[in-house]
C-alpha cells in the first residue's frame, strides 16, 4: 500500500486485508458466484464491472487463489515523504509496508527497472510491480514516473501499482493514467479532520509545514479528490486503513462507506503495530494495536458494507517472490548487475507459464464451484468454527506448525468453508540463535490464533501440541498434503460428529 504511509519505519505491517469472496469462487467472470460459501458479498462483486473483475481475478494481492500462483514485488525508489503519521518514525520503512526494523534498499529508477526485469525473467510468476515505501511515491513523482515510464515500454507484460498517502495524488492522476497502472492504493485512515488530527501531526503543503486539524483537513480533501479523479479515469483504487483502537476504530465503518460509495473496489484494514522501541508517537505514548479478534470483528462489520480482501499479507517494500515468501536475497543489486537479460525471450516464456497457470486455476475454480454446490452433512443450525491452516501455497496443508510464518484462517459452517484472513505467526523456531526465546514466541504464536478451535498443519511438535491443547486449540496433523477446504470440512464434520458443535455447548461457552 502505499503508504500513505509508505515509508515508515514500520510500525505495523500490512497484515490483513479484506476479501473478495466472490472472485474466489467464480468460475467465470460472468457467471457470478455459484458457490454456496460466498456469503453476503456476492452481490457486491456482481455489481463490479467485468473489466474490474477481470483485473482483480488474477491479481496476486487480491484474488485468493491467484496469490498461490502469481507473485508480486515491490521496489523502493522514492524515500521522501510529505506528511507525518503517528505510527511512523521515518527512520526505517513505511509502516504500511514493512516489517519493523527492516530497511529497504532505495534504488534509482534505473536500478529498479533492471531489478524488476531480472526478477520477471527468472520468476515468470511475477506479474505485479509496486512502488512502495519507504516514502510516498508521489512526493517524489519524477523517480516514480520514470520507473513506470520505462517499465511500461520495456516490460509491457508487468502490471504496475503504486501506493500513496494521497496528499499529492490529485496532481499525479493525469500522469498515472498514461502508464500501465493496474491500481492505486490510497491509505485513508479517516474522513473526519478531528480524527485525522490524532493520527497526522503535520503535512508539508504549499511550501509550509501545517499542523493539527487544518493539516488533517487538507490531507483528507486531497485523498478524497484523488480517489474521485482516479475513478473518473477508470483506474482501480484500493483503500488501506490502519486500525487504531480508540482513535479511528469506530470511524472506519464510515470510511468504508464513503470510499465504497465513491467507487473504491476494495477496503483493506490493517492493524496498528506500535512498540515503544520504534520511537513513534503511538509507540512511545503506549497506544496499543488491535487484537486479532478486534481486527476480525471490524473486518466482518465492514464486509457487509464493502468488498473486503482478507488474504493479502504484509509484505516488505522490496519483497520479491510469491506472496509471503521472500526471495529478495537472490536479487540484490550486485547480483543483478551481472545478469544478462533478454526480455523479449523472457516475455515469450512468461506468456506460456501464465497460460498454464491460468488453465490450472480455471480448472480448480470450476472443481471448487462444483464441490461447493454440495452442502455439508450437518444440521443447518450447527455453529461455525474457525480453524487455522499452515500452508505455503498451492491450496494444500504443507507446513510444519513450527515453521509457519503465518496461518490462514478459515471458517467452516453448514454453508461450507470460507477463507477469513491471514494471521502472522512469530516463527517460534527458525533454528537460529533466537531460539533462546522459544517459549515466549510460541506463546505469541498461539495467542495469534485466538478464536480458532483447531490448527491444521503437516506436523506439530510435542511441546506446541500440549500448549495448543491447553489453549483450547486442537492440533491436527492428519491432513498433510490435502486440499485445505476439504480438510477443514473433514475436521468440521468430525467435530460435529463428536458433539462439539451442539448449540447448547455454544451457549455454555459463550
Amino acid at each position: 500500500m502505499t503508504c500513505a504511509l509508505l515509508s515508515c519505519k514500520a510500525i505495523f505491517k500490512e497484515v490483513k486485508q479484506m476479501q473478495l469472496p466472490v472472485l474466489n469462487d467464480a468460475p467465470s467472470a460472468k457467471s457470478g458466484c455459484s458457490a454456496s460459501s460466498c456469503g453476503t458479498t456476492d452481490s457486491q462483486m456482481d455489481t463490479l464491472p467485468d473489466s474490474i473483475r477481470e483485473k482483480v481475478q488474477n491479481h496476486p494481492c487480491y484474488s485468493e487463489d491467484a496469490h498461490h500462483y502469481f507473485a508480486r514485488m515491490h521496489v523502493a525508489v522514492a524515500p521522501a515523504c510529505n506528511i507525518q503519521c503517528h505510527y511512523c518514525n521515518r527512520k526505517y520503512d513505511c509502516a504500511n509496508e514493512s516489517r519493523p526494523g527492516v530497511v529497504s534498499e532505495v534504488l534509482t529508477p534505473d536500478q529498479a527497472v533492471k531489478k524488476t526485469m531480472a526478477v520477471a525473467a527468472n520468476i515468470p510468476q511475477m506479474t505485479v510491480l509496486g512502488i512502495a515505501g519507504p516514502g510516498d511515491p508521489l512526493a517524489n513523482p519524477e523517480k516514480t514516473f520514470e520507473t513506470f515510464r520505462r517499465l511500461s515500454q520495456e516490460a509491457p507484460d508487468i502490471k504496475l501499482c503504486v501506493s500513496t498517502n494521497g496528499l499529492a495524488l490529485p496532481e499525479a492522476v493525469e500522469e498515472l493514467s498514461k502508464h500501465n497502472i493496474d491500481h492505486v492504493t490510497i491509505t485513508i485512515n479517516c474522513v473526519d479532520p478531528e480524527v485525522g488530527a490524532k493520527i497526522y501531526p503535520w503535512i508539508y503543503w504549499n511550501n509550509r509545514r501545517i499542523k493539527g486539524v487544518k493539516a488533517a483537513k487538507i490531507l483528507i480533501e486531497q485523498q478524497q479528490k484523488g480517489l474521485e479523479m482516479l475513478i473518473a479515469k477508470g483506474i482501480l483504487v484500493k483503500v488501506n486503513s490502519v486500525m487504531i483502537p480508540g482513535i479511528n476504530d469506530e470511524h472506519l465503518a464510515e470510511v468504508s462507506r464513503v470510499v465504497k460509495s465513491k467507487g473504491a473496489f476494495l477496503h483493506n484494514v490493517m492493524p496498528l503495530i506500535a512498540e515503544a522501541e520504534h520511537g513513534t508517537f503511538f509507540g512511545v505514548m503506549g497506544q496499543r494495536g488491535p487484537t486479532p479478534d478486534e481486527l476480525q470483528n471490524l473486518q466482518d462489520s465492514c464486509a457487509g458494507d464493502m468488498n473486503m480482501m482478507r488474504h493479502c499479507r504484509q509484505c516488505r517494500a522490496d519483497a520479491v517472490g510469491m506472496l509471503g515468501e521472500d526471495r529478495g536475497d537472490e536479487f540484490t543489486m550486485d547480483k543483478i548487475e551481472d545478469m544478462e537479460i533478454d526480455y523479449q525471450a523472457a516475455m515469450e516464456k512468461r506468456k506460456l507459464v501464465h497460460q498454464a497457470i491460468q488453465a490450472e486455476m480455471d480448472s480448480k475454480r470450476l472443481e471448487k464451484a462444483q464441490k461447493a454446490a454440495v452442502k455439508p452433512a450437518v444440521a443447518p443450525q450447527t455453529r461455525p468454527v474457525l480453524m487455522a491452516v499452515a500452508t505455503s501455497g498451492q491450496g494444500v496443508i504443507n507446513v510444519h506448525f513450527g515453521h509457519a510464518k503465518e496461518f490462514l484462517i478459515y471458517e467452516a459452517s453448514p454453508e461450507g468453508v470460507r477463507f477469513i484472513s491471514h494471521r502472522k505467526a512469530d516463527q517460534y523456531c527458525g533454528g537460529d540463535v533466537s531460539c533462546g526465546e522459544t517459549e515466549s514466541t510460541l506463546q505469541t504464536t498461539i495467542r495469534s490464533l485466538a478464536g480458532c478451535e483447531a490448527v491444521l498443519c503437516s506436523k506439530v511438535g510435542y511441546e506446541p501440541w500440549e500448549m495448543l491443547e491447553q489453549a483450547g486449540i486442537m492440533p491436527n496433523g492428519e491432513h498433510a498434503m490435502e486440499n485445505i477446504e476439504e480438510a477443514v470440512m473433514a475436521v468440521y464434520l468430525e467435530m460435529a460428529k463428536a458433539g462439539k458443535l451442539d448449540t447448547e455447548q455454544l451457549r455454555a461457552s459463550a
Binding site: S7, A78, P79, A80, C81, N82, Q84, H86, R90, K91, V106, P134, G135, A139, N140, E142, P201, W202, Y204, N207, R208, R209, A276, E277, G279, T280, F281, G283, V284, M285
Partner: protein, 92 residues
C-alpha cells in the same frame, strides 16, 4: 548565512527536491547543505523549505546553531515521555 544538516539526518531525501537554491546534496554519512549556495530561502519562501519538510527533530540547525525543529515540535511526543521510553529501552 546558511542552515546546516547534522548527523541526526536519516537520509530520507525529503529536503533535497524542495530547496529552491539547490544547496542540498546527498553524501555520506548524511545529506549536507552547501553553505555557499544556501540562501535561507530568502526571496523565495517565508520558511526554510528544508526544515519545513524534514521529519527529524534537530536534524537541521539555523545559522545560530539552534535546532529549527526542536525536540517534541514535530512528533508531539512530550519530552518526559520520550525520556521514559528511552530509559526503559536502555534497561533491557
Amino acid at each position: 548565512m546558511a542552515v546546516k544538516i547534522i548527523e541526526l539526518c536519516t537520509n530520507c531525501h525529503a529536503c533535497l527536491p524542495v530547496c529552491p537554491s539547490h544547496a542540498i546534496y546527498e553524501t555520506k554519512p548524511h545529506f549536507m547543505v552547501d553553505p555557499k549556495k544556501c540562501t535561507e530561502c530568502e526571496g523565495d519562501f517565508a520558511d526554510f523549505q528544508c526544515a519545513s519538510i524534514c521529519p527529524i527533530e534537530g536534524a537541521i540547525l539555523n545559522a545560530l546553531g539552534e535546532a529549527i525543529n526542536p525536540p517534541g515540535s514535530l512528533t508531539g511526543i512530550p519530552l518526559e515521555k520520550m525520556a521514559e521510553a528511552m530509559a526503559e529501552l536502555q534497561a533491557h
